[in-house]
Amino acid sequence: MSVSSSIRPALIAAAILITTPLYGQNSPASPAAEAPRAPLIDLNESVAFEVCPHTGMMGSSGTFGLKLMMTYSSFSLELAGEQVIGRTANLYPVSINAVLNLATHGRLIPYGAVGAGLWLTVPVNALGAETVSTLGMNFGGGARFFITRAFGIRLEAKQYFTTISDSRGLKNDLLFFQEVSVGATFFFH
């Protein structure tokens, strides 16, 4: 073996030993930490408002409605009005609801709600029939899924109940109605 051929492996080994630590130092020990992303919706940021047109079904009747919400963090106050289109009468529940948001930031905000209000039952084409108003309560839950910072989709299921009495006030009936609705929500500060 000549001198040059015996030196060549030593030179290669020395080059590897010298360069490897350099490469090792250049490469980060762990991936760079990403800058924290701001959540799409942050209910803790400030007081926020939402306008929610929606439609759905209550029993076999179609519904239309509008909800106005004022939100800060987990709590929202909601004013809701809707029309339930029946064959013999239209029902107009108007209620004030307290909403507990189960998440305060991100795209998906599930919530539970409870409220009370006035139910106006307006008969259709019944001679002599008058509008009947009763007090009612409701509870339920749903979720809002935000597609952008200003727009989302809202799904909700609710149970409504009210009492009505006959014309002589001798008998009270407790009535239950279930409603499922889907709508849009427009979010702004």
Binding site: G62, F64, Q83, N90, V124, N125, T148, F151, A184, F186
Partner: protein
Amino acid sequence: MTTTTLLSRGALFLALVAPPAGSAGAQARYEQSLSLSAGLYAASGFGTNFYTSGRYDYFIPGTRWFIEGSLGVGSLTSKVMSSVTKAQIFTSDNLVTYEFAGAFDYAPGGALPFFLFGVGGVREGEETHFAGVLGIGKRVALPGFLGSNALGFRYDIRDQIFSQVINHSDPFIVHNITATLGLQIYF
């Protein structure tokens, strides 16, 4: 089928679907619009009358979808009913409609129409019906019209489908058709 036929059909399809060069769709620049439309409302069994409607659209950014809320006013006046049968079916001839719908606009700047589906309320006299709504339409931007790039016109054809009972008849399905042309302002 020959290659020429295939190519010509493909070219026709592309011409319909592809937005014209330089016409950035309104959907890319604006998120909302208001429009005022006028046209005809054909109420099944009652005849056709003038109809006007106002519409609000929200264009979901980054998608080809938009949602729409609308309110329309028309009439149920029927010459046949009033002059021949002397019948008054509803308590008045007033017609009010409102709709809540979603629409898919595959080619906002192309020639294909958008397709719309949703629900609506049709108030005839004092009777309100919950209706399904199907429709097509087209939004056409009018860049530079009246010195603005935020104006356009639109046409809409809608079918409001609902179940109706008249004078204790069995329920039957009616199709009320509207055709309107309107001016649209984007913001």
